[in-house]
Symmetry: C2
Subunit: 396 residues, 2 copies
């Protein structure tokens, strides 16, 4: 991988640019790691195995695909520097005691990948949680023409989609399949058994409550799938029906509220598996999962709930009352108006939300006054985050 | 939902058929649950909330979509039967103390959904683990004509794909895109940034080591994606190259071996996050996850490893030596021949394996003797399991 370095404040490794905000001034070698002291007084530690693993040289990274060919299990677990120093170009330079291999690390790259607790936390995404009042004060709203034609406007929109988990795009072309064009500003569409683009219209022989005029309770889509679809797009082409308002609730806000106020329910919701079933003629999906998922830092990363797609819970009998208590707590809170955002989609509106965070529902509607036609599709979180990184690179 | 019942041994609820293997003979109501005694002497307990939640009546389940409209948070947490008895048709019949609602439960349905520990364990899928010797003694092998034309042959193949995580289909038509036809015997294809069907040929400007003639180390595909693709299909159209043998390792077998012999490494591998990066010109995927995932019953459900797609690990400094020890342990074991299955794909062979379980690699190859062309695609585990359930229903 070509490493370019100069006296400017930035440098490139592979496709990424690393700003040099501070400079390393000394390196101190210990048993299994070294400590770098920076010119702002901070210290960072880097383990030898980690450093050797992350060597950027052309022997370790193939220039053909920029993928790592060196394998860390091919050196001793006890590998150490025979020499380590800070170069005049502010690089950490190491010669290893195994095969005399030589490695160089840019200051900006080291800073960016420092793994002290503070550095890791600073890099973590922080969702902006909302309730009825908060989302009414600021609803992320973007213009179709802008996001379709301008990379910076696109990036601004995607940041808000990522952080708020909700946004409205206005003045969207109301011709069919426009939702696909908007979604493809991010990436390819996540296909499901409902196809790639789905039409939300009331129809006979509905295989989902979505395709009726019925009220839908608050839910996430496709909880029966191991990976629930990430972003959901709902584009309104026509809406002359009475009723049918969308109701959205930030599931992460509810989860936080339960965590703070009802810790037993939070434990039940994050550790005991609900069952989700969706049996149709040609498919039979089932998945068991807690209603709230936390990552291994304990942060809430997903909610999964749809009353009409639940199956019989199959957990230890002595936990059955606890899971029902937790589930009821969640649903009863989500039904409270203080958490609910009401929105009527009109022709030309496109609602985008994180289906793994924001519960959605709609009121029943009547078609006596006119027609109602939405088109929807899904794009996964991976694609959103990848697109944001590529745009950041392009616009840097 | 129509419930049909008669004196035969089976009965239907929705799309499913429930066999009546034993009969309930008495019901004993306690505080928050009831106990059924069966004619074989066994007992099952069912909580009142669970029973009320699973009422099959047409008020609770809309006949239109067979989805549940009743919501358990609309009844008191302390709901109880005012009456419960076993009917002459061997149904559990309950009248509830709230709204006088009446519910009926078929014996076969109750038996099938019993949640004692023994019943839950009996319903759990058990993968058949393998090493070199075991897979050499029995390699699941199926015929293209059979799986394409016969539902029972298809189901038999899918059972083996599910349980062994590997299978070979022989005598596959070698025309292009046949892999898609085979995959679609299960369901739709999982699209990725490599498209739906990918051609594995050596090419210039490769954006993945897969598209070179290089040796590939053992790996799972797309560990940079939150949900790694489930099944991987590799169809060999032509193989006149020298070398390029496939090497496959059952990652669940390695995980089990580590769990039994190196418990500290197992803890590191299941709790500490590796980082997976794949930076290309138009995409930039990253995902952090432990290399081994266990579900909330402690069973290994996934491995995620690809040396060439790793990024700098970002975990607490005091865990850094432990994660490297665990990762090296896994890779060094996977490199041992006793765990490796070698297979040369010839024209007309189609290899299918669970990409979230089986690590794959290939030797370097030379094109001096001839051409090599594979076509591949992915289908997710959800689709496999759904297809199995639908086939079971159709063939019952």
């Amino acid at each position: 991988m070509p490493v370019t370095t100069d006296n400017s404040t930035t440098a490139m490794v592979g496709y990424s640019i690393y700003e040099k905000n501070k400079l390393p001034i000394s390196v101190n070698c210990l048993d299994d790691k070294l400590i770098i002291e920076w010119d702002d007084g901070a210290q960072s530690e880097y383990h030898y195995l980690w450093l050797r693993d992350n060597c950027h040289c052309e022997q370790c990274i193939t220039s053909l695909t920029r993928e790592q060919i060196f394998e860390i299990c091919d050196v001793p677990f006890t590998i150490k520097p025979s020499n380590a120093n800070i170069s005049p170009e502010h690089e950490l330079q190491i010669t290893w005691d195994f095969e005399n291999h030589h490695s160089r690390y840019l200051a900006g790259w080291l800073e960016q990948h420092c793994y002290t607790k503070a550095s890791r936390e600073a890099r973590q995404l922080k969702p902006t949680l909302w309730d009825r009042q908060q989302i009414s004060q600021y609803l992320p709203t973007h213009q179709y023409q802008d996001i379709m034609s301008d990379s910076q406007a696109l990036l601004n929109w995607l940041y808000e989609v990522r952080d708020y988990g909700i946004s409205i795009v206005k003045n969207v072309d109301t011709s069919e399949n426009t939702v696909k064009k908007v979604a493809e500003r991010i990436s390819f569409i996540r296909e499901t058994n409902f196809g790639t683009i789905f039409d939300v219209v009331a129809k006979n022989n509905a295989n989902s409550a979505a395709y009726t005029t019925l009220r839908l309770p608050l839910h996430t889509d496709l909880p029966t799938r191991e990976l629930q679809p990430g972003l959901q797009f709902l584009h309104c082409l026509v809406n002359d029906a009475q009723g049918g308002e969308s109701i959205l609730v930030d599931g992460f806000k509810i989860a936080q509220y339960i965590r703070e106020n009802y810790p037993d329910d939070f434990i039940a919701l994050t550790t005991l598996s609900m069952s989700f079933y969706n049996k149709d003629k040609a498919s039979d999906y089932r998945f068991d999962s807690p209603a709230i998922s936390v990552n291994n830092q304990g942060e809430v990363v997903e909610v999964r709930l749809a009353n009409f797609l639940r199956g019989p819970i199959a957990i230890a009998a002595d936990k059955m009352q606890a899971i029902y208590a937790g589930y009821r707590r969640f649903m009863l809170l989500a039904r409270q108006e203080r958490f609910q955002f009401f929105h009527r989609l009109n022709a030309g509106d496109l609602l985008v939300f994180d289906n793994r965070r924001v519960l959605h529902s709609r009121n029943a509607f009547s078609l006596e006054q006119g027609h109602r036609h939405l088109q929807g599709c899904y794009v996964d979180r991976d694609e959103l985050l990848s697109r944001i990184r590529v745009l950041e690179r392009e616009l840097a």
